[in-house]
Subunit: 202 residues, 2 copies
Protein backbone atom coordinates (compact mmCIF):
# COMPACT_ATOMS: atom_id res chain seq x y z
CA UNK A 1 0.00 0.00 0.00
CA UNK A 2 2.38 2.70 1.22
CA UNK A 3 5.49 3.82 -0.64
CA UNK A 4 8.83 4.63 0.90
CA UNK A 5 11.95 5.69 -0.96
CA UNK A 6 14.25 2.69 -1.26
CA UNK A 7 18.05 2.85 -1.13
CA UNK A 8 18.38 2.09 -4.81
CA UNK A 9 16.30 5.16 -5.58
CA UNK A 10 18.15 7.32 -3.09
CA UNK A 11 21.38 6.46 -4.81
CA UNK A 12 19.88 7.17 -8.19
CA UNK A 13 18.76 10.59 -6.98
CA UNK A 14 22.21 11.31 -5.62
CA UNK A 15 23.74 10.32 -8.93
CA UNK A 16 21.30 12.51 -10.78
CA UNK A 17 22.06 15.48 -8.56
CA UNK A 18 25.71 14.91 -9.34
CA UNK A 19 24.87 14.79 -13.05
CA UNK A 20 23.10 18.12 -12.81
CA UNK A 21 26.00 19.72 -10.98
CA UNK A 22 28.46 18.32 -13.48
CA UNK A 23 26.39 19.55 -16.40
CA UNK A 24 26.00 22.95 -14.77
CA UNK A 25 29.74 23.22 -14.19
CA UNK A 26 30.34 22.62 -17.87
CA UNK A 27 27.79 25.18 -18.95
CA UNK A 28 28.81 27.81 -16.40
CA UNK A 29 32.44 27.41 -17.43
CA UNK A 30 31.65 28.55 -20.96
CA UNK A 31 28.90 31.11 -20.38
CA UNK A 32 28.36 33.79 -17.82
CA UNK A 33 25.86 33.22 -15.02
CA UNK A 34 23.27 35.47 -16.66
CA UNK A 35 23.79 33.90 -20.05
CA UNK A 36 23.35 30.41 -18.63
CA UNK A 37 19.73 29.29 -18.66
CA UNK A 38 18.22 26.56 -16.53
CA UNK A 39 16.97 25.13 -19.80
CA UNK A 40 20.50 24.69 -21.15
CA UNK A 41 21.65 23.05 -17.93
CA UNK A 42 18.65 20.74 -18.00
CA UNK A 43 19.34 19.86 -21.61
CA UNK A 44 22.93 18.97 -20.88
CA UNK A 45 21.86 16.93 -17.84
CA UNK A 46 19.14 15.27 -19.93
CA UNK A 47 16.26 16.23 -17.67
CA UNK A 48 13.22 18.46 -18.03
CA UNK A 49 13.52 22.01 -16.78
CA UNK A 50 10.97 21.33 -14.05
CA UNK A 51 13.03 18.42 -12.76
CA UNK A 52 15.83 20.83 -11.97
CA UNK A 53 13.67 22.31 -9.24
CA UNK A 54 13.28 18.95 -7.54
CA UNK A 55 17.00 19.08 -6.83
CA UNK A 56 17.70 22.78 -6.32
CA UNK A 57 15.46 25.49 -4.95
CA UNK A 58 16.63 27.91 -7.63
CA UNK A 59 19.44 28.98 -9.92
CA UNK A 60 21.30 30.91 -7.25
CA UNK A 61 21.27 27.95 -4.87
CA UNK A 62 22.92 25.90 -7.60
CA UNK A 63 25.78 28.30 -8.28
CA UNK A 64 26.21 28.75 -4.55
CA UNK A 65 26.56 25.04 -4.05
CA UNK A 66 28.94 24.73 -6.99
CA UNK A 67 31.20 27.48 -5.76
CA UNK A 68 31.12 26.24 -2.18
CA UNK A 69 32.08 22.77 -3.34
CA UNK A 70 34.91 24.15 -5.44
CA UNK A 71 36.11 26.27 -2.56
CA UNK A 72 36.23 23.23 -0.29
CA UNK A 73 37.94 21.14 -2.94
CA UNK A 74 40.57 23.78 -3.57
CA UNK A 75 41.25 24.36 0.10
CA UNK A 76 41.45 20.66 0.83
CA UNK A 77 43.88 20.19 -2.02
CA UNK A 78 46.07 23.05 -0.87
CA UNK A 79 46.09 22.02 2.77
CA UNK A 80 46.94 18.42 2.02
CA UNK A 81 49.91 19.50 -0.09
CA UNK A 82 51.06 21.92 2.60
CA UNK A 83 51.10 19.18 5.20
CA UNK A 84 53.72 17.31 3.23
CA UNK A 85 56.35 19.97 3.92
CA UNK A 86 57.48 21.91 6.97
CA UNK A 87 59.61 24.74 5.65
CA UNK A 88 57.57 27.90 5.09
CA UNK A 89 59.07 28.61 1.69
CA UNK A 90 58.16 25.10 0.69
CA UNK A 91 54.65 25.68 2.04
CA UNK A 92 54.31 28.73 -0.14
CA UNK A 93 55.41 26.71 -3.11
CA UNK A 94 53.18 23.78 -2.20
CA UNK A 95 50.10 26.02 -1.97
CA UNK A 96 50.50 27.50 -5.39
CA UNK A 97 51.56 24.26 -6.98
CA UNK A 98 48.51 22.49 -5.59
CA UNK A 99 46.35 25.29 -6.92
CA UNK A 100 47.83 25.16 -10.39
CA UNK A 101 47.73 21.37 -10.57
CA UNK A 102 44.06 21.38 -9.62
CA UNK A 103 43.22 24.06 -12.15
CA UNK A 104 45.00 22.18 -14.91
CA UNK A 105 43.10 19.04 -13.96
CA UNK A 106 39.77 20.79 -13.51
CA UNK A 107 39.81 23.58 -15.99
CA UNK A 108 36.08 24.20 -15.68
CA UNK A 109 36.60 24.87 -11.98
CA UNK A 110 39.25 27.45 -12.73
CA UNK A 111 37.08 29.08 -15.37
CA UNK A 112 34.13 29.34 -13.04
CA UNK A 113 36.08 30.61 -10.05
CA UNK A 114 38.33 33.04 -11.86
CA UNK A 115 36.34 34.15 -14.85
CA UNK A 116 32.62 33.54 -14.52
CA UNK A 117 31.84 34.00 -10.85
CA UNK A 118 32.94 37.63 -10.76
CA UNK A 119 30.00 38.30 -13.03
CA UNK A 120 27.20 36.80 -10.98
CA UNK A 121 26.38 39.84 -8.89
CA UNK A 122 27.91 42.05 -6.27
CA UNK A 123 26.54 40.15 -3.30
CA UNK A 124 27.97 36.95 -4.71
CA UNK A 125 31.35 38.48 -5.27
CA UNK A 126 31.83 38.50 -1.52
CA UNK A 127 32.11 34.72 -1.71
CA UNK A 128 34.82 34.89 -4.31
CA UNK A 129 36.66 37.50 -2.31
CA UNK A 130 36.48 35.15 0.65
CA UNK A 131 38.25 32.43 -1.32
CA UNK A 132 40.95 34.77 -2.46
CA UNK A 133 41.37 36.18 1.00
CA UNK A 134 41.76 32.72 2.43
CA UNK A 135 44.61 32.06 0.03
CA UNK A 136 46.18 35.43 0.77
CA UNK A 137 45.81 34.79 4.48
CA UNK A 138 47.63 31.46 4.19
CA UNK A 139 50.37 33.16 2.20
CA UNK A 140 50.64 35.97 4.71
CA UNK A 141 50.96 33.50 7.58
CA UNK A 142 53.85 31.81 5.82
CA UNK A 143 55.51 35.17 5.25
CA UNK A 144 55.07 36.22 8.87
CA UNK A 145 56.61 32.96 9.96
CA UNK A 146 59.56 33.51 7.62
CA UNK A 147 59.90 37.02 8.90
CA UNK A 148 60.19 35.78 12.47
CA UNK A 149 62.81 33.30 11.39
CA UNK A 150 64.67 36.19 9.79
CA UNK A 151 64.41 34.60 6.36
CA UNK A 152 62.22 37.24 4.77
CA UNK A 153 63.07 40.91 5.21
CA UNK A 154 59.75 41.97 3.73
CA UNK A 155 58.28 45.26 4.68
CA UNK A 156 54.56 44.68 4.40
CA UNK A 157 53.59 41.03 4.53
CA UNK A 158 49.97 41.66 3.51
CA UNK A 159 50.90 43.56 0.36
CA UNK A 160 53.58 40.97 -0.39
CA UNK A 161 51.08 38.17 0.01
CA UNK A 162 48.68 39.95 -2.34
CA UNK A 163 51.45 40.47 -4.89
CA UNK A 164 52.32 36.81 -4.62
CA UNK A 165 48.78 35.56 -5.17
CA UNK A 166 47.98 38.26 -7.72
CA UNK A 167 50.88 37.33 -9.96
CA UNK A 168 49.67 33.73 -10.10
CA UNK A 169 46.11 34.78 -10.62
CA UNK A 170 46.99 36.92 -13.61
CA UNK A 171 48.96 34.20 -15.33
CA UNK A 172 46.32 31.55 -14.70
CA UNK A 173 43.56 33.83 -15.95
CA UNK A 174 45.43 34.58 -19.15
CA UNK A 175 46.08 30.88 -19.62
CA UNK A 176 42.36 30.17 -19.25
CA UNK A 177 41.20 32.97 -21.49
CA UNK A 178 43.81 33.03 -24.19
CA UNK A 179 45.87 29.92 -23.78
CA UNK A 180 48.91 31.98 -23.00
CA UNK A 181 51.33 30.90 -21.60
CA UNK A 182 50.82 27.57 -23.31
CA UNK A 183 52.65 25.57 -20.69
CA UNK A 184 51.31 26.56 -17.29
CA UNK A 185 53.59 24.17 -15.42
CA UNK A 186 56.63 25.76 -16.96
CA UNK A 187 55.28 29.23 -16.20
CA UNK A 188 54.85 28.08 -12.62
CA UNK A 189 58.64 27.76 -12.29
CA UNK A 190 59.25 31.23 -13.67
CA UNK A 191 56.54 32.64 -11.41
CA UNK A 192 57.82 30.93 -8.32
CA UNK A 193 61.34 32.20 -8.89
CA UNK A 194 60.00 35.66 -9.62
CA UNK A 195 58.09 35.75 -6.38
CA UNK A 196 60.85 34.28 -4.24
CA UNK A 197 63.19 36.97 -5.54
CA UNK A 198 60.40 39.50 -4.99
CA UNK A 199 60.04 38.45 -1.40
CA UNK A 200 63.79 38.83 -1.03
CA UNK A 201 64.45 35.25 -0.06
CA UNK A 202 67.64 35.19 1.99
Amino acid sequence: MAYRQTNKVKEKLERKKGDIIRAAREVFAENSYQETSIKSIAQKAKIATGTFYLYFSNKEALINMIVDEMFQELLKCIKSEREKVTDSFEKLQASMEACIRLFIKEKSMAKILLIQVPGVNNAFNAKLTEIENELIKLTKEDLDELKEEGRFPGEDSLVSAMAFVGSFRQVITSWLREGQPEDLEKAFDTLMKYNLRGLGKL
Copy 2:
Protein backbone atom coordinates in the same frame (compact mmCIF):
# COMPACT_ATOMS: atom_id res chain seq x y z
CA MET B 1 9.21 78.86 -40.35
CA ALA B 2 11.82 76.14 -40.38
CA TYR B 3 13.72 74.98 -37.33
CA ARG B 4 17.38 74.16 -37.20
CA GLN B 5 19.36 73.14 -34.14
CA THR B 6 21.27 76.17 -32.87
CA ASN B 7 24.75 76.03 -31.31
CA LYS B 8 23.43 76.83 -27.85
CA VAL B 9 21.24 73.75 -28.03
CA LYS B 10 24.01 71.58 -29.44
CA GLU B 11 26.16 72.49 -26.47
CA LYS B 12 23.30 71.79 -24.08
CA LEU B 13 22.85 68.36 -25.64
CA GLU B 14 26.56 67.67 -25.34
CA ARG B 15 26.47 68.69 -21.70
CA LYS B 16 23.47 66.47 -21.10
CA LYS B 17 25.15 63.51 -22.73
CA GLY B 18 28.08 64.12 -20.41
CA ASP B 19 25.68 64.26 -17.46
CA ILE B 20 24.22 60.92 -18.42
CA ILE B 21 27.64 59.33 -18.75
CA ARG B 22 28.74 60.76 -15.42
CA ALA B 23 25.59 59.52 -13.72
CA ALA B 24 25.98 56.12 -15.32
CA ARG B 25 29.59 55.85 -14.18
CA GLU B 26 28.49 56.50 -10.62
CA VAL B 27 25.73 53.91 -10.76
CA PHE B 28 27.78 51.28 -12.58
CA ALA B 29 30.58 51.69 -10.06
CA GLU B 30 28.32 50.56 -7.22
CA ASN B 31 26.13 47.99 -8.94
CA SER B 32 26.78 45.30 -11.46
CA TYR B 33 25.77 45.83 -15.07
CA GLN B 34 22.72 43.60 -14.73
CA GLU B 35 21.68 45.20 -11.46
CA THR B 36 21.91 48.66 -12.96
CA SER B 37 18.66 49.76 -14.58
CA ILE B 38 18.23 52.48 -17.17
CA LYS B 39 15.66 53.93 -14.79
CA SER B 40 18.22 54.38 -12.03
CA ILE B 41 20.68 56.02 -14.41
CA ALA B 42 17.94 58.30 -15.72
CA GLN B 43 16.97 59.22 -12.17
CA LYS B 44 20.52 60.13 -11.25
CA ALA B 45 20.91 62.12 -14.47
CA LYS B 46 17.52 63.79 -13.84
CA ILE B 47 15.95 62.79 -17.10
CA ALA B 48 13.07 60.54 -18.10
CA THR B 49 13.87 56.99 -19.06
CA GLY B 50 12.82 57.62 -22.63
CA THR B 51 15.23 60.54 -22.91
CA PHE B 52 18.09 58.15 -22.38
CA TYR B 53 17.37 56.63 -25.77
CA LEU B 54 17.76 59.97 -27.49
CA TYR B 55 21.42 59.87 -26.46
CA PHE B 56 22.28 56.17 -26.59
CA SER B 57 20.91 53.45 -28.78
CA ASN B 58 20.76 51.06 -25.85
CA LYS B 59 22.27 50.03 -22.54
CA GLU B 60 25.13 48.09 -24.08
CA ALA B 61 26.15 51.04 -26.26
CA LEU B 62 26.41 53.11 -23.08
CA ILE B 63 28.66 50.73 -21.19
CA ASN B 64 30.71 50.27 -24.33
CA MET B 65 31.23 53.98 -24.66
CA ILE B 66 32.06 54.31 -20.96
CA VAL B 67 34.65 51.57 -21.05
CA ASP B 68 36.16 52.80 -24.30
CA GLU B 69 36.49 56.29 -22.85
CA MET B 70 38.10 54.93 -19.72
CA PHE B 71 40.47 52.81 -21.76
CA GLN B 72 41.56 55.86 -23.75
CA GLU B 73 41.90 57.96 -20.63
CA LEU B 74 44.00 55.34 -18.88
CA LEU B 75 46.26 54.76 -21.85
CA LYS B 76 46.72 58.48 -22.45
CA CYS B 77 47.63 58.96 -18.81
CA ILE B 78 50.14 56.12 -18.85
CA LYS B 79 51.76 57.15 -22.11
CA SER B 80 52.15 60.75 -21.07
CA GLU B 81 53.88 59.70 -17.85
CA ARG B 82 56.13 57.30 -19.74
CA GLU B 83 57.29 60.04 -22.06
CA LYS B 84 58.76 61.92 -19.13
CA VAL B 85 61.43 59.30 -18.56
CA THR B 86 63.82 57.38 -20.79
CA ASP B 87 65.16 54.56 -18.63
CA SER B 88 63.12 51.37 -19.04
CA PHE B 89 62.98 50.67 -15.33
CA GLU B 90 61.67 54.18 -14.85
CA LYS B 91 59.14 53.56 -17.62
CA LEU B 92 57.89 50.50 -15.81
CA GLN B 93 57.53 52.52 -12.65
CA ALA B 94 55.91 55.44 -14.47
CA SER B 95 53.27 53.18 -16.05
CA MET B 96 52.12 51.70 -12.80
CA GLU B 97 52.33 54.96 -10.91
CA ALA B 98 50.20 56.69 -13.53
CA CYS B 99 47.71 53.88 -13.29
CA ILE B 100 47.47 54.01 -9.52
CA ARG B 101 47.28 57.80 -9.41
CA LEU B 102 44.43 57.77 -11.91
CA PHE B 103 42.56 55.07 -10.00
CA ILE B 104 42.92 56.97 -6.74
CA LYS B 105 41.62 60.11 -8.43
CA GLU B 106 38.86 58.32 -10.33
CA LYS B 107 37.80 55.54 -8.07
CA SER B 108 34.60 54.90 -10.01
CA MET B 109 36.70 54.23 -13.09
CA ALA B 110 38.76 51.67 -11.23
CA LYS B 111 35.66 50.02 -9.83
CA ILE B 112 34.05 49.74 -13.23
CA LEU B 113 37.14 48.48 -15.04
CA LEU B 114 38.36 46.06 -12.40
CA ILE B 115 35.25 44.93 -10.59
CA GLN B 116 32.06 45.55 -12.54
CA VAL B 117 33.02 45.06 -16.18
CA PRO B 118 34.06 41.42 -15.75
CA GLY B 119 30.40 40.77 -15.00
CA VAL B 120 28.79 42.24 -18.09
CA ASN B 121 29.05 39.20 -20.33
CA ASN B 122 31.61 37.03 -22.00
CA ALA B 123 31.69 38.92 -25.26
CA PHE B 124 32.31 42.10 -23.35
CA ASN B 125 35.11 40.58 -21.34
CA ALA B 126 37.19 40.57 -24.49
CA LYS B 127 37.34 44.34 -24.25
CA LEU B 128 38.61 44.19 -20.69
CA THR B 129 41.18 41.60 -21.67
CA GLU B 130 42.32 43.94 -24.41
CA ILE B 131 42.99 46.69 -21.87
CA GLU B 132 44.94 44.36 -19.64
CA ASN B 133 46.86 42.95 -22.55
CA GLU B 134 47.81 46.42 -23.68
CA LEU B 135 49.30 47.08 -20.26
CA ILE B 136 51.05 43.74 -20.21
CA LYS B 137 52.38 44.38 -23.70
CA LEU B 138 53.86 47.71 -22.65
CA THR B 139 55.43 46.04 -19.65
CA LYS B 140 56.83 43.25 -21.77
CA GLU B 141 58.36 45.73 -24.20
CA ASP B 142 60.16 47.43 -21.34
CA LEU B 143 61.42 44.11 -20.09
CA ASP B 144 62.64 43.04 -23.51
CA GLU B 145 64.50 46.32 -23.81
CA LEU B 146 66.10 45.80 -20.40
CA LYS B 147 67.01 42.29 -21.40
CA GLU B 148 68.84 43.54 -24.46
CA GLU B 149 70.69 46.05 -22.33
CA GLY B 150 71.67 43.18 -20.05
CA ARG B 151 69.89 44.73 -17.10
CA PHE B 152 67.25 42.07 -16.65
CA PRO B 153 68.23 38.41 -16.64
CA GLY B 154 64.60 37.33 -16.82
CA GLU B 155 63.75 34.03 -18.30
CA ASP B 156 60.28 34.57 -19.69
CA SER B 157 59.44 38.21 -20.26
CA LEU B 158 55.76 37.55 -20.96
CA VAL B 159 55.20 35.66 -17.73
CA SER B 160 57.23 38.25 -15.87
CA ALA B 161 55.14 41.05 -17.33
CA MET B 162 51.98 39.23 -16.29
CA ALA B 163 53.31 38.75 -12.80
CA PHE B 164 54.18 42.40 -12.64
CA VAL B 165 50.76 43.63 -13.74
CA GLY B 166 48.92 40.92 -11.80
CA SER B 167 50.52 41.88 -8.51
CA PHE B 168 49.34 45.46 -8.93
CA ARG B 169 45.93 44.37 -10.03
CA GLN B 170 45.40 42.22 -6.97
CA VAL B 171 46.36 44.98 -4.56
CA ILE B 172 44.26 47.60 -6.31
CA THR B 173 41.26 45.30 -6.41
CA SER B 174 41.51 44.55 -2.70
CA TRP B 175 41.85 48.25 -2.00
CA LEU B 176 38.69 48.94 -4.00
CA ARG B 177 36.68 46.13 -2.52
CA GLU B 178 37.80 46.08 1.07
CA GLY B 179 39.81 49.22 1.60
CA GLN B 180 42.89 47.17 2.27
CA PRO B 181 45.66 48.28 2.10
CA GLU B 182 44.41 51.61 3.39
CA ASP B 183 47.21 53.62 1.84
CA LEU B 184 47.53 52.62 -1.78
CA GLU B 185 50.38 55.03 -2.45
CA LYS B 186 52.43 53.47 0.29
CA ALA B 187 51.59 49.99 -0.97
CA PHE B 188 52.80 51.12 -4.38
CA ASP B 189 56.32 51.50 -2.99
CA THR B 190 56.29 48.04 -1.49
CA LEU B 191 54.90 46.60 -4.70
CA MET B 192 57.40 48.34 -6.91
CA LYS B 193 60.31 47.09 -4.82
CA TYR B 194 58.80 43.61 -4.75
CA ASN B 195 58.56 43.50 -8.52
CA LEU B 196 61.95 45.02 -9.20
CA ARG B 197 63.49 42.34 -6.99
CA GLY B 198 61.26 39.79 -8.71
CA LEU B 199 62.53 40.84 -12.09
CA GLY B 200 66.06 40.49 -10.76
CA LYS B 201 67.03 44.08 -11.35
CA LEU B 202 70.77 44.21 -11.71
